[in-house]
Structure formats: C-alpha cells, structure tokens
Amino acid sequence: MTKPLAFACLALLPALAWSAARAAQDAEYERPYRVENGKVDQATFNGYRRYGNSCLQCHGPDGSGSSYAPNLTDSLKHMTHEQFNYVVINGRQNVTASQQNVMPSFGHVEDVVMYLDDIYAYLKARSDGVLGRGRPERLPR
C-alpha cells in the first residue's frame, strides 16, 4: 500500500462514518419504535393511545381500517414518515362520484401534533408486522 493511497483511505473514513450515521438516523426516522418480546417503548405506547383518541374512529382498531377509511398498516408500507406527517397535518380529500374520503387536517390539534412521531412509531410498528393487534405492553423504562 502506497502512502498516498493510505492517506486517501484515511481521508475517506470520516465520510464513511458520517454516511453510516446518516443511514442509521434515516432508519431511526423511518422506524422510530422499539419492540422487544411484544413490549414497546414509551413513545410507541403513547402513539397507540393518541391513535385511539384521534384516529381510531375512522381508521379502526389497531390501524386496521374501516368501511370508510384506509387500513394504515397497509398505507405505511408505501408512505414515508415525511408523507405521513404531511397528510396528518394538512389533511386530504378524495371525493368522487363513488367515494367520499375526507381526512381532516390535524395541524392545529395539540393531542395529535405534539405526539405525531409517537403515532407514526406505533403505526409503523404495526405496519412492519413487529407489533400485533390490541393494547401493547410497555417496556420497563
């Protein structure tokens, strides 16, 4: 190994470390939950409850959908965290002759906006199949 090459390799190291950290951060952002033996971290548990308050009456128990709102465990298979946030905050409408789907905007609702990442974490855990239906148990703090 020639010196210049070794030097070049050394120079690359911080960049590699940076990109690995970035990848980990991205993964953490897209999968912000911790599930161990069916038990969840506090944030994910809080997401379960906030979901129950603000989302369940349309999207059904456990994010499983209803006759008038989509199954979110399916939706989050092809939606990013960013897109999820966008729709919850701004709402969206899909009103045609055969369907009238209206997601209200939750941008000004304290109990949703403050815990948006928690709600996402819960639903993403459900969507990824790592968390079953019903009330999850909490991991010890």
Binding site: G52, S54, S66, Q100, V102, F106, R135
Partner: protein, 597 residues
C-alpha cells in the same frame, strides 16, 4: 242525530286544525298500514304493521321484485318512507333523496342532492350515515350531515325552506331522522365524540322558524327545566339540576348528544328521546353525575319544557349513550299493575327499561343480554345502576386498562330500532353481544376535534362465538323469551307484522324473517351488502311489499371491517373472529320483496 254527529265532527276537525299541536293528517296516516309515513312506523315507534298477506306459512316464498342502486357506497342506515304511491329513500353523505314511483318501480320522480362542504365528513364520528327524512304536510324534511334542515316539496323535490341547526366547525353534525309533531319538526344533533353540547330543537313546519330549543346539559333556562314541575322518579329536580353535577364550566363541553330517535304521545302531547355520553370518554376528567347526559326526557311538544327525566347511567364510564328509541305501549301488565301508558327502552348499557310514561316512574330494569356485567342491577328506589368495581373505568382510573367489560361501547343495542307487536305484546330486539377493554387517558379539548380520551378493544364475551342475537323480550317481566344467535351484531331495525313474523337484517347482508313465537328462521335472502338499514312494509295496489336498504358501514363498519381483536387468542371457534370483509363489501341498494302471485 246524524246532523248532530256531523256537527260534532266538524267541531272536532276545526279544533284540530286550529290547535297548535295536532296534525290530524299525520295522526291518521301513521295508523294506515298501507303506507309507512315515519321512520319507525308510527308515533309510538312500534315498527309494526297490521298487514297480514305475508304470513308464517308463505314467507318462505318471498322474492325480490325490484331493486335500486343509490350510487353511494357508505353505511345505509334508516329506511324507506311510503306515502301514497311514492317511496322516498335517502343516502349517507352526500344525503341524496330519491322519490321513486311505485307505479313504475324504480322510476325516479325527482332527486335531490344538497351541496355540502365535504369537510363535514371528517368530523362525523362513525361513518356518514343518515337515518332518513320525515314527512308532514306535503313536505319531506331532511337533516343533512352538515346540520342543514331542509324542507322539500314531496311532489317536486323543490326546496321550500332551509335552516342551519348546528356548526360542523365545532364538531356538530347530523345523522338522525327528524319527527314531525303537529305544526313543528323536531330534530337533535350528533357530535358526542367532539365535546359538543346536545339539544333538541323544534322548528315551524311551515317556514323553518325556530320555536324552542332544549339542551341536554346546562342552566335551567337552556335545558327548559322547571325546578318544581320537572321531576326525576317522582321528585322535583330542584334548581340547577344539571349545573351542580359538573365541575366548573365543564358542562359547556358536556355532550349529551341527541342523535337517536324521537317518539310522541299525542294524548299527553309529550315527546320522548334520550341523550348521549357526557364530554370525554375519560370519566376522571369530569367528576359528578354529569346530568342530564344518558337520560330519558319527556318534554311538552309545544313548549319543550321537560315534564320528567330519568338518568340511566349517571357519570358514564363506558360510552353507553342513552339515545335508543323509546317505544310507547298501552295497557302493559307489570307484575300485578296494569300500566295504561308505558315506555319501553333498550339501552346501550344492556338494561331493558319499562317506565310509566305519564310520570317517569321506573317499573322494570333488567338485563336483556345475560353477558352484561358492569352493573349487578338497577336500584329501583334511586334508579341508579349498582356498578361492579372491577368493571368501573373510573375506579381503575386514568392509564389503567379495565378488562372484560360487557357490553362494549357500542352497547348491547345501538340505535337500530326494535319492533313491538301488539298481537303478542312482545318486543323483537336486534342486539350486540360484544365486550371490551377500556383505558381512559387525559385529553385536551379543541373545538371541532375528537374529544375521546379512551382506547378500546372489542371482542365477544368469554365462551361465545357470536357477536349478536335477535331476541324476543317481555317488557312487563323484564325477561328474554327467546334468543336467536347471529354471527355478527344485528345492526338493522326490526319489523313485526300481523302475519306473526318478525324481520331483521344481518351484517352479512341477509334479510331474515322469523316466527314471533320461537324465533325459528322462516326466510333468508342475501342482499348485495351488509344490512344496517331498517325494514318497512306497505301495500301497493292491494299487495303487500317489504323493503330494505343494504349497504354496510356505520359503527358496525368500524372494527368489524377489520375483524375484532382476539383472533389469536383462540377464545371461540367458527367464524366469529373472521372479518366482516370476508362476507360483504360496500354497497347502497334498495331491495323490495313480495310473495309471488
């Protein structure tokens, strides 16, 4: 003598026409079995017909004779009206109304589709259902999702007047069927999951002008209570009977939505209905009895003043709304008393109540599903349910998951109205057989946003693999006569007829007829989608027909579309845990049946 009789008759008619409360036309029409002029058949909410062409013997040959698609794919609650030779049907949001020609089945005489801001859909708690319009004085009166009450000319569909009954920006919406009483139309409001304050309002049938409004909770002058004359179980309620059961000004977001059914006794001139859950579902956030949520009201139809009230579930901890229909029956034998004027009510809380509807005296309160466990019984002196601590979500407190409460929040019975047959003296009741876990937690109130504060899981009672029953009930004794299990909750309004059969629909989409004597199934036909609508019957050119809307949805469409929790727990067996989606899909179709000639 004949002259004298005619003169007397003319006098009676003149008085009736001039009187504020009588509507002789409707009083007569609601007794005519050939038509179906109000949602629950008559003012007493019997859902019964004297027609007897369809009988125990021939009902098996019943066949669909024509169908009509509404073009809307949401939960179709309520049912058709039939006035003369025209049938009126309605849809969930966008709340279309069709006038259909019975002489040329399915031909549309007129259609009406209101323009509504679709954002109202987002504040309707449990699908965009509507339980249908009312008829009176040549008008069809529709209560739209956005709380606009509109009167249409029954002949042309032309708008005659419109009035706004609430504000969807605050979570106020409408799902209920109004009731025409005399020269007024009465309507309530939905939004119990949004911290609204419920009310029933009377508008002038002629021009939509507000006549009176009675809130469920609040100061005496807003709930139209007279502290001395309004009674609870025979005792005057006293001043501030609602306010003093709330902490601070929590009554302002106190709920008591009035989204159920209205009944009317023309002799007493009293209108009867129930109120829904108080404020948030988290009981710890609203200490007190939360009066007058979860209450049966008897109000003077002319003034709105409350004659008597009875609170069934003080300080609700389970979302057992008291809005189900009030069935008015006469000469009911209760023990050794004969009650000239009784009221029978199947509450979400699982108790079947019988009261004296003249004075609100409590006569019977018994469980109409043996699975009911949240209370042991109702104390007949105080009228209070004796709550079992194990199933008290208040005793459990915030952030504690209280398990195995029966019934679930959707109640042993929801709004789907029961039928009463004066021939048998029995009630035929569509019921749910579902239990729940309930965990309350703290929430903040934002106008127009969900104000729930509890998470729920629902599943069948231990040892059961059916989620519903269709039962016959003896309201004098408070006993189940027979009970026919159904795979899913029975979410359709029943019909009883003089052919001694009772009809109901299932969530899979079957229209069924059973023998009133024993519940034996005599007929079943699978309509295109799950039935949450109410069945009616009428004649056209002398022939009896039966009609029902199918189109699954409503609260039955939530959870059951996804199946209940507990699939993996192996509690029961066949089918009960399978998702409703395996049996039916969305729809919106009217089906009219007849026995072939």
């Amino acid at each position: 003598m004949e002259m004298l009789r005619r003169a007397a008759l003319a006098l009676v008619l003149a008085t009736a026409a001039g009187g504020a409360s009588a509507n002789p036309d409707l009083l007569r029409l609601q007794r005519d079995p050939n038509q179906w002029v109000m949602a629950n058949g008559n003012y007493s909410s019997w859902r019964y017909s004297e027609l007897n062409q369809i009988t125990r013997e021939n009902v098996a040959t019943l066949r669909p004779v024509w169908q009509f698609s509404t073009g809307v794919l949401r939960g179709h609650e309520g049912g058709p009206l039939v006035i003369g030779e025209v049938m009126y049907i309605h849809t969930p949001f966008p709340n279309k109304v069709f006038a259909l020609d019975l002489n040329n089945p399915g031909r549309v005489i007129w259609r009406y589709e209101p323009t509504q801001d679709p954002s109202v859909i987002g504040v309707m708690c449990c699908d965009t259902v509507n339980r249908g319009p009312a008829y009176g004085d040549g008008k069809i009166i529709l209560s739209q999702a956005d709380t606009t009450l509109v009167a249409l000319d029954a002949k042309t569909g032309k708008e005659l007047w419109k009035v706004k009954n609430g504000d969807p920006a605050k979570g106020e919406t409408s799902t209920m069927s109004p009731l025409v009483v005399g020269d007024k139309v009465l309507v309530g409001i939905s939004g119990g999951e949004y911290g609204i304050r419920g009310h029933v309002t009377a508008y002038s049938l002629a021009d939509g002008k507000l006549v009176w409004r009675a809130h469920s909770v609040g100061p005496d002058n807003e709930i139209l209570f007279d502290p001395q004359k309004t009674t609870h179980l025979g005792q005057p309620v006293g001043a501030n009977s609602s306010l003093k059961t709330w902490e601070g000004d929590q009554w302002k977001i106190g709920g008591g939505a009035t989204w159920g059914w209205l009944s009317y006794d023309p002799d007493l001139n009293l209108v009867y209905y129930g109120s829904g859950n108080p404020g948030t579902w988290n009981p710890s956030q609203r200490p007190g009895d939360n009066k007058w949520s979860m209450t049966i009201f008897a109000r003077d139809a002319s003034t709105g003043m409350a004659r008597w009230v009875y609170q069934m579930t003080p300080h609700d901890e389970w979302d057992y709304d008291g809005v189900n229909e009030m069935i008015l029956v006469d000469n009911l034998q209760v023990g050794n008393q004969r009650i000239a004027k009784a009221l029978v009510h199947f509450d979400r809380n699982g108790f079947g109540y019988t009261l004296n509807r003249e004075n609100g005296q409590l006569l019977v309160a018994q469980k109409f599903d043996p699975a009911v466990n949240w209370a042991t019984h109702v104390d007949m002196e105080t009228g209070r349910p004796q709550v079992v601590k194990e199933f008290s979500t208040r005793a459990g407190g915030e952030d504690k998951n209280t398990q195995n409460i029966c019934p679930a929040a959707l109640g042993t019975k929801d709004q789907q109205p029961a039928a009463y047959s004066p021939r048998t003296g029995m009630f035929y009741v569509p019921t749910n057989h579902v239990c729940m876990d309930y965990e309350p937690f703290r929430v903040s109130y934002t106008a127009g946003q969900p104000f729930i504060g509890a998470t729920l899981s629902m599943y069948p009672p231990k040892g059961s693999d059916n989620l519903g029953n269709f039962i016959a009930w003896d309201a004098g004794q408070g006993k189940i006569l027979w009970s026919k299990p159904e795979r899913f909750s029975v979410w359709s309004g029943a019909l009883a007829t003089a052919g001694d059969i009772a009809f109901y629909g299932t969530l899979e989409g079957h229209l069924k007829a059973v023998d009133v004597r024993d519940g034996k199934e005599l007929f079943s036909y699978r309509t295109p989608s799950g039935i949450i609508g109410n069945i009616n019957t009428f004649t056209h050119r002398g022939k009896q027909y039966v009609a029902v809307m199918s189109g699954v949805g409503g609260w039955a469409g939530i959870g059951m579309a996804a199946g209940l929790t507990g699939e993996s727990e192996g509690l029961g067996a066949v089918g009960a845990y399978k998702s409703l989606a395996d049996y039916t899909q969305l729809g919106g179709v009217l089906t009219v049946f007849a026995v072939p000639n």
